[in-house]
């Protein structure tokens, strides 16, 4: 599946990952509101993870079955988080 991505593109993605990493580390030191830093840093982490999954693990070009397998635990996690949050909302 590596034929879909050239060596040059792999290196470009690595540069993007490095930039996002240092941006996140720098953002965490900025005098910003804590929620802003949390959302910003975790958003950057999610973008980095997506780049790795889509291009380095080739999920973007691979069979859709693998995308379903990859998404399955995320659905379970979303359900679990939903249950936990709903439980905390109804707690008095």
């Amino acid at each position: 599946m590596s034929a879909h991505v050239s060596t040059r593109q792999y290196v470009q993605i690595w540069v993007a990952l490095a930039v996002l990493l240092f941006l996140g580390a720098a953002m965490s030191q900025f005098p910003l509101a804590k929620p802003t830093i949390v959302v910003g840093v975790l958003t950057l982490s999610t973008i980095k993870a997506a780049l790795v999954v889509l291009y380095y693990m080739h999920l973007k070009f691979d069979h859709r079955w693998l995308a379903i397998v990859a998404a399955f635990p995320l659905v379970i996690i979303a359900l679990a988080v939903g249950i936990v949050l709903s439980a905390s909302l109804v707690r008095f």
């Binding site: 690595w14 965490s28 291009y55 069979h63 079955w65 693998l66 990859a70 635990p73 996690i77």
Partner: protein, 195 residues
Amino acid sequence: MSTADAISIDSGGTGVPSNKLGVWLFLASEVMFFTVFIAAYIVLRASNPAWPGPEGHLSVPLGTLNTFVLLCSSMTMVLAHAAVARDDQRALRLNLLLTVVLGATFLGVKGYEYSLKFEHGIGPATNIFWSCYFTLTGFHALHVLAGVLTNLWFLMRAMQGRLNPRTGYGVELAGLYWHFVDIVWLFVFPLIYLL
């Protein structure tokens, strides 16, 4: 050719090689494994107003550098996969070697960080933050160690000239695992070191 060199095994009807599908299923279970620990950390931290935190015993520059090391190893791993696909033996060996060295470097830095904690009398039982720290980073380090050993094994086979486009399918599978280990750290690092 041994089973270790096995080429992709066709599957019954899914269109996905069975060994690749198996690795992805394994990774799906690993996602849930690490999510449990990460979720526990978040819940514990959110429900504890007097969260102790690292209190100056974690180095953000060192953690950032180690994350960069892991990102570099992901790139060399995918380059090794590309190299075996086009039967470029020199690039395959070089990139597998770099991946192993970078993975070992990550573990070395992590060991150095652990030794600093122990020197200051900090251990898993110190408080809830350090319990979470050693649990999350410890399990992750064990996964990195497994990945380094796997990549080392493939490097040895590459040095013997036993990997080519037909027999080197395992490099892609090892790469999937290695990238997953990288992704886990992309979330563990900010949660523990930055936030």
